[in-house]
């Protein structure tokens, strides 16, 4: 007998929001790739291909739950409800940006949304998420904390330190490792032992909490496992590790050189998380093709408006660089 697609167990409104969020991330990043190389300064890292992870996890979180993000952080921010206009404004270095234009792509945060910051230091956000969970526990709140990071960060000593502390204090933290197969220009296989590359979630066992390998390109699977992990953490059972296998479709940063074999990238493009969702929504009768198109058009308009907002916002005065050194 044919197995029922788990997408049919989901609330249709939730699926629709998830689809819209994934399209927002995709279109935000697609436009950003051009903008950063034409009219913006600095550099930015694309989340294209990994949309299902941030979206699926954030869909299972509450607004007052915390996340820490990474240098590849636009997707986490959008998934947690970030304002694309203020994000673009930050990328343009404008005063309407989330950090008043001071910090750019690597450092977008919105504390009202529980986003405790993207982070320019690989693994830097992981103990911060653990500290937020420590705070939640001390305040007797049932908030949880999610640390997003890549497989490169998982080899930092800081991951080990943070995971161990989360375990011994039984803190409500979900570690979400995005295994996107490239650590800047280094292959995943180069930095992980062959005996663990198929499932780095087994590292969780050594700390004493559960870990699961999941398909990071399947937003339904991410959502379902995230729901389970969040419930586990929120109910006081301690941390959880989700190893989400995915692929970095774009180069390390937008405009970087690319040493990856074309056929490898092409193979992963066939497993596109958005196309995967569209097909399944259609097959399950959740959404018609025309409604998908309507959503895409709507998101496209939102992104265009967000870019306009950013372009029209003010540049900071030089003296603004002297503000906020101390509170």
């Amino acid at each position: 007998m044919e197995q029922k697609d788990p997408i049919t167990d989901m609330n249709e409104d939730d699926v629709r929001k998830i689809y819209e969020t994934m399209q927002k991330i995709r279109m935000f990043e697609t436009r950003e790739k051009d903008l950063i190389q034409t009219e913006q300064e600095g550099f930015a890292h694309s989340y294209v291909g990994e949309e299902a992870i941030a979206t699926g996890v954030a869909a299972a979180l509450r607004k007052d739950d915390y996340i820490t993000s990474t240098h590849r952080g636009h997707g986490h921010m959008i998934a947690k409800g970030g304002d694309m206009g203020r994000m673009y404004a930050e990328l343009y270095g404008r005063t309407a940006g989330y950090c008043q234009g001071k910090s750019g792509s690597l450092h977008i945060a919105d504390f009202e949304l529980g986003v405790l910051g993207a982070n320019g230091i690989v693994s830097g956000g992981i103990p911060i998420a653990v500290g937020a969970a420590y705070s939640a526990q001390l305040r007797k709140s049932d908030q949880v904390s999610v640390a997003f990071f890549g497989e490169g960060a998982m080899n930092q000593g800081l991951f080990h330190e943070a995971a161990n502390m989360a375990a011994i204090y039984q803190l409500p933290v979900i570690f979400v490792v995005e295994v996107n197969h490239w650590q800047c220009g280094v292959r995943y296989e180069t930095v992980y032992h062959p005996s663990v590359i198929d499932n780095i979630a087994i590292r969780a066992q050594s700390y004493g909490f559960p870990g699961e390998k999941i398909n990071g390109n399947d937003v339904v699977e991410v959502y379902q496992y995230a729901t389970k992990a969040i419930e586990h953490a929120r109910s006081g059972k301690g941390p959880y590790l989700l190893a989400c296998y995915t692929y970095r479709i774009e180069t390390h940063f937008m405009g970087d050189i690319d040493i990856r074999p074309d056929e490898e990238v092409a193979e992963w493009k066939k497993q596109d998380p958005i196309e995967n969702l569209e097909r399944r929504m259609y097959e399950a009768g959740i959404m018609s093709g025309s409604l998908m198109e309507e959503i895409r058009d709507d998101v496209n308009t939102q992104v265009a408006e967000a870019i306009d907002f950013a372009r029209n916002s003010l540049k900071p005065e030089p003296e603004a660089a002297l503000e906020h050194v101390y509170a």
Partner: protein, 353 residues
């Protein structure tokens, strides 16, 4: 007293011993408590008021702190409020940052300043920059307590003074108390401060007794203190160096040399006004710190004085710091490297000559 065979060993730091350093500074007699007790009292008083303030570090729990600073606190406050940590300095400070931006407040203890290099990312890249990076969305009201300094035969990796590393990083405040009175009052202000504060104690001083009032008080960050008034030369000294300098001042007084001892107490923020006022009065300056002379904060201090009071100077500014080598273990070598009363005296005589 320093530089004699009676100098205490590291072991003695675990026990009370009577120290000969004069600590009255002209105030009326009051109870005397150890340096570490003064620090403990500041933490206890604030933790009783704020149930979301917690002390975090290895050995701070049942053991009572590597230098017995938190003795008895675990019994009063229990788990999570006085929480033993694994040995993972970077993770500890990182956890403290996360906790301090989400409604609670951490005092992190890393007993030896020599271990702070293990935590540099959390201190320098995370805590120090948070308020700036996110344009004031959230500051990090974290206190990092640590102990610097030698004179205890602890060798290369347990004797160092890195306070200037943190002076160099915008966003951090740096406190270097020299007495129990100052330590308690400044720690209260550090805990109340919305910014990350590196609070640098001196391990040799933990058993030293100081006059500390029973009633609560605090000392604002950024207020220097004249530890001894004088007219001939200004010696700017911090932490344990204040006591060596006071001994020298007492000795020179007999020769009619009047030494003013200025203790900045906090390096960031720095009370330039009070320091420069003293310089303009005496016209001669010696700067003493235990950290290595090369790249120490004394160079910065000298530059500020040269910039703002150059025409008030009657002699070149002299610095006394550790010689530019690692800090060796046995007494005969350590004493040769670290600042001594003899070297401070020689520097004073040189600027007066």
């Amino acid at each position: 007293m320093q530089g004699t065979a009676s100098s205490p060993s590291l072991k003695l730091l675990w026990n009370t011993f009577t120290h000969k350093v004069e600590t009255n500074f002209g105030r009326k007699p009051m109870r005397k408590i150890e340096f570490r007790t003064a620090i403990r009292e500041a933490m206890e008083e604030e933790m009783r008021k704020d149930p979301l303030l917690f002390l975090f570090g290895y050995d701070v729990g049942e053991y009572g702190g590597e230098f017995r600073v938190s003795q008895g606190m675990y019994a009063e406050f229990g788990d999570r409020r006085v929480q033993d940590a694994p040995i993972n300095e970077n993770g500890m400070v990182g956890l403290g940052v996360g906790a301090s931006i989400t409604g609670t407040k951490a005092i992190i203890e890393i007993a030896f300043m020599d271990f702070l290099p293990m935590a540099m990312d959390a201190i320098v890249n995370q805590a120090a920059k948070f308020n700036y990076t996110f344009a004031g969305q959230r500051s990090v009201p974290l206190v990092l307590r640590t102990a610097m300094g030698g004179y205890i035969r602890a060798a290369e990796q347990h004797s160092q003074c890195f306070e200037n590393w943190f002076v160099h990083v915008p966003g951090l405040k740096v406190v270097v108390p020299s007495t129990g009175y100052d330590a308690k009052g400044l720690l209260k202000s550090a805990i109340a401060d919305p910014n990350p504060v590196v609070f640098v104690e001196h391990k040799f001083m933990y058993p030293m007794k100081f006059e500390v009032p029973e009633e609560e008080y605090s000392i604002p960050l950024g207020s220097a203190d004249i530890k001894r008034e004088g007219t001939d030369v200004t010696v700017i000294a911090t932490s344990y160096m204040v006591h060596l300098t006071l001994n020298v001042a007492k000795k020179l007084e007999k020769e009619g040399i009047s030494v003013e001892v200025v203790d900045p107490r906090t390096l960031v923020p720095l009370d330039e006004e009070k320091i420069l006022e003293s310089v303009r009065k005496t016209n001669r300056v010696v700067i003493v710190h235990e950290a290595h002379e090369r790249g120490g904060w004394g160079g910065e201090m000298a530059a500020i004085i040269a910039d703002k009071a150059f025409f008030d100077l009657d002699a070149p500014i002299k610095r006394v710091g550790a010689r530019n080598t690692p800090i060796p273990f046995p007494q005969v070598l350590e004493e040769f490297i670290l600042p001594s009363e003899e070297r401070i005296e020689a520097a004073i005589r040189e600027v007066l000559s």
